[in-house]
C-alpha cells in the first residue's frame, strides 16, 4: 500500500488515488507530425526504478498529483503539484550504501 503525500490534503492512502500514467510526456505542437502524436499518445517506457507519474486524488481534493516513485521498491521520493518540477534521486555509486 502506498502512502501518498497530496500537496493539499496531506498523507493519504493509495486507495483514495487513481494511477494516471507517465507524467513526463509533453504534448507535441499542434502542427507536429503524426508520428510525434503517436508517440505521445501510445508509446510508454516501462522503467525499472524511478518514474515520474500522475496520480489523481479522486477520493479527496480531486487534484492531479505528480509523484516520483520507484517501480521496483514502491518507495516514493517526492510529490508535488502538476506544475512543479520534481527531480529524481541521485544515483548511488556502485558499492556505496
Amino acid at each position: 500500500m502506498h502512502r501518498i503525500d497530496c500537496p493539499w490534503c496531506g498523507i493519504r492512502d493509495e486507495a483514495e488515488f487513481q494511477y494516471q500514467g507517465d507524467a513526463t510526456k509533453v504534448r507535441p505542437a499542434p502542427d507536429a507530425s503524426q508520428d510525434a502524436f503517436f508517440d505521445y499518445v501510445y508509446k510508454r517506457d516501462n522503467p525499472k526504478g524511478w518514474h515520474t507519474e500522475w496520480w489523481h486524488h479522486v477520493g479527496g481534493c480531486r487534484q492531479w498529483v505528480k509523484v516520483v516513485r520507484n517501480t521496483l521498491t514502491h518507495e516514493i521520493h517526492a510529490t508535488g503539484a502538476p506544475a512543479e518540477k520534481l527531480s529524481l534521486p541521485r544515483k548511488k555509486k556502485r558499492g556505496s550504501k
Binding site: 490534503c9 493519504r12 477520493g59 479527496g60 481534493c61
Partner: protein, 187 residues
C-alpha cells in the same frame, strides 16, 4: 402543478432519534442547513479568500458569523450556513463574490450527518482511513475522504469531538445504513 415538498433524506424522520438512544455514538441531522459551493475565477483565489474572510488553509474550516467555509480543493469551498431559505443564502454569497467567483447551490444535493458520543473516535476508525486522534486533529479540521466507499466531506466542529459528515443525498440512505450498523457494536 403541486409544489414540491422536501422529503426527509432517510424517509423516516424518527430514524435518527431512535438510533441515538443509549448509544456510545449519537447521530443528528442538523435541520435548515444551506449549502453553496464557491469557485474562485482564475487567479482570483486570494480575492475570494479576502472577500469572504476565510482561511487559506486547505485542511481547516473557517467559521464566520453566517457560515462555515469548508475547503474542497484549491479555489473551491463549501459554504454551510444556518439559513432556512437556501436561495437567500445563495444570493447573499453570490453578491459577495460577484466578479471574482461563482456559486453553485448544493442545499438539496448534500445531507449532513452529525456524529458524536463517547465512543465516536473508535467508531470513526471502523470506516475512515484518516488519523482522527486527539493529538492529530482538532476543532476546524476538514477533509474529504471515502468512508464505506462513499465520498464524505468531514468537518470536526468541536473538541468533544463532534464530526459533521456531508454525503451526496443519493448516498444518504446507504451511508445511514453503514452508520447505524457500525454503531451497533458501540452501545
Amino acid at each position: 402543478m403541486a409544489d414540491f415538498v422536501p422529503i426527509h433524506p432517510l424517509g423516516d424522520p424518527e430514524a435518527v432519534s431512535k438510533a441515538s438512544s443509549n448509544a456510545g455514538v449519537t447521530f443528528d441531522i442538523p435541520p435548515d442547513l444551506s449549502m453553496v459551493q464557491v469557485f474562485a475565477r482564475k487567479g482570483q483565489e486570494d480575492n475570494v479568500i479576502r472577500k469572504l474572510g476565510i482561511s487559506d488553509s486547505p485542511r481547516t474550516a473557517s467559521s464566520q458569523k453566517s457560515f462555515n467555509a469548508l475547503p474542497l480543493s484549491p479555489g473551491q469551498w463549501m459554504l454551510v450556513g444556518n439559513e432556512k431559505d437556501s436561495s437567500k443564502f445563495e444570493a447573499a454569497i453570490a453578491k459577495k463574490v460577484a466578479g471574482i467567483g461563482y456559486v453553485s447551490q448544493q442545499s438539496a444535493s448534500r445531507v449532513c450527518f452529525r456524529v458524536s458520543g463517547p465512543k465516536v473516535r473508535d467508531f470513526m476508525s471502523r470506516g475512515c482511513r484518516l488519523d482522527l486522534g486527539e493529538s492529530v486533529t482538532s476543532k476546524g479540521y476538514c477533509a474529504q475522504t471515502p468512508i464505506a466507499q462513499i465520498g464524505v466531506l468531514l468537518h470536526q466542529i468541536d473538541e468533544a469531538p463532534t464530526y459533521d459528515l456531508y454525503v451526496y443525498s443519493g448516498f444518504a440512505r446507504a451511508f445511514w445504513h453503514w452508520l447505524t450498523e457500525t454503531a451497533a457494536q458501540f452501545r
